[in-house]
Point group: C3
Chain length 205, copies 3
């Protein structure tokens, strides 16, 4: 199950990486590079921090093949999309949701404490996309003012931790995590859901 | 003692991270994210490089709680500051000084060689703030032309290594490191202390 | 032999880091910082991913001395160059070629699988320069539209893997890797060799 989540997160994040590569007008190998970086970035940080040996995609290079296949697909079809950026945002929301669940599952299976599980969920979900945006000079989605992003990831990770008190179904925490993360992010994209942001008061006169 | 240094560096770096988050007008969860990234970034790289297992904040998530508390404080009080950027610069100087000492102490306690201790001091001191600035699209303080920054960190780490030849007091190297780093950085901020920078000569005619 | 490759890659990458530091008009310690980051960045990621303990420059700080010596040299001589950016591009091409060979050699000596060897070659070759460019706010060479960069690295790593089927000379794979990578990158710089890049079709009317 953890393996399936990692595969799915890799595939969807790779699609977002390839879309960013298309915005930068790279060649096919550049697509592979950005897709792989985005796809395995978050999970790699997770595995290095948790001292998992080996890192997930070294143990099973199928992940790299999936990421390159996704990049190949985008290279030849992205021109068919009406709005690449909109597709990018929604795929990124899906990838975030799945990757948070992957991070929570891995940390949970290692019997980490509650704060560490939360952090691993958020880190796995957000850091691959953050690397993609930093490397490709996009404004990191993490920092988009007035959007739920880290909040969605944190709430999803929290849902995964809360659900076992309600049901013993082993799949329920993963589903709750994916649905909560995606719902909050989607609500933010579609309906403008947001938390109050910091606003400096005018200077005292 | 090493634990105390890590706590203090985490707290002060988290304040700087939250101040940068306020400049980016993020929400409270965004403040937590940037504060935690800044607070544990440098020490995490240090621990991964030195193969310390586990990384310090995984062993003791109190660090994350401290970082989030600092972010919370800034979210609700930053508007009281006259000049957030000035406060940011001075807090960053304090965080740099403490974190260099933390890096030197950890590497010293592992009986690393002199160049490695110096590098770990500089890396622990500078990399958390560097991540903060890269992620939040600020000009990295490391690169501010004509300011002592890496120089202050390196001198502080050097002071920590030199002091044991003068006194056997176990606290003296740490104090010397903090004071040296902070004094050089403060002198650069307040009085413009600097090293000569590279200047291209005019082209030969 | 692997040690020699790492030394050479460190030296040449450090020169490129120092040239970028000269473009940012840093002081001599800033030159050391950027040179060391660039010089050991790619190999450090490789060693962390492969769980090599210790990381190569912790085992032998000579690497840091070489990087600082290179930075020192550039600090005092860069003004003699006609075009620092052109020199930077060509040194970076040489560093890329050598570092890919270093990455391939290390992964090969650990009996990693073919895809992992390819990835370690590309990662070792490209990530140090990528860190340099991200930290110093340069457009990453990896992303320069219409140039062979990751492609050259990947082809070089592939050549290293193919050569043992042709000759048993233990040096041949390394030489083939260096020559293939450098030739492709040089061809791209000098003659504009390139792969087709992604181009969005005009919107359908």
């Amino acid at each position: 199950m953890i393996a399936m989540l990692d595969y799915a997160a890799v595939a969807v994040f790779a699609l977002t990486g390839a879309l960013v590569a298309s915005r930068a007008q790279l060649d096919i190998i550049g697509f592979f590079f950005v897709a792989c970086l985005t796809a395995v970035g978050g999970g790699t940080i997770r595995d290095l921090l948790l001292d998992r040996d080996p890192v997930f995609w070294l143990a099973d290079p199928t992940h790299l093949a999936i990421a390159c296949a996704a990049a190949f697909l985008v290279f030849f079809t992205a021109h068919l999309l009406e709005s690449r950026y909109t597709v990018l945002l929604w795929l990124d929301a899906a990838a975030l949701a799945i990757a948070v669940a992957a991070g929570v599952s891995v940390a949970g299976a290692m019997d980490q404490s509650v704060p560490i599980i939360l952090v691993m969920g958020v880190a796995t979900g957000t850091l691959g996309g953050l690397m993609r945006d930093v490397v490709c000079n996009e404004v990191p989605l993490v920092l988009k003012q007035g959007e739920l992003y880290v909040t969605a990831a944190l709430a999803g990770a929290g849902a995964a931790l809360a659900i076992p008190y309600l049901t013993a179904d082993p799949l329920a925490p993963i589903m709750a995590c994916i649905l909560t993360t995606f719902a909050l992010r989607a609500g933010s994209l579609a309906f403008g859901w947001r938390l109050p942001v910091y606003r400096p008061r005018p200077p005292r006169s």
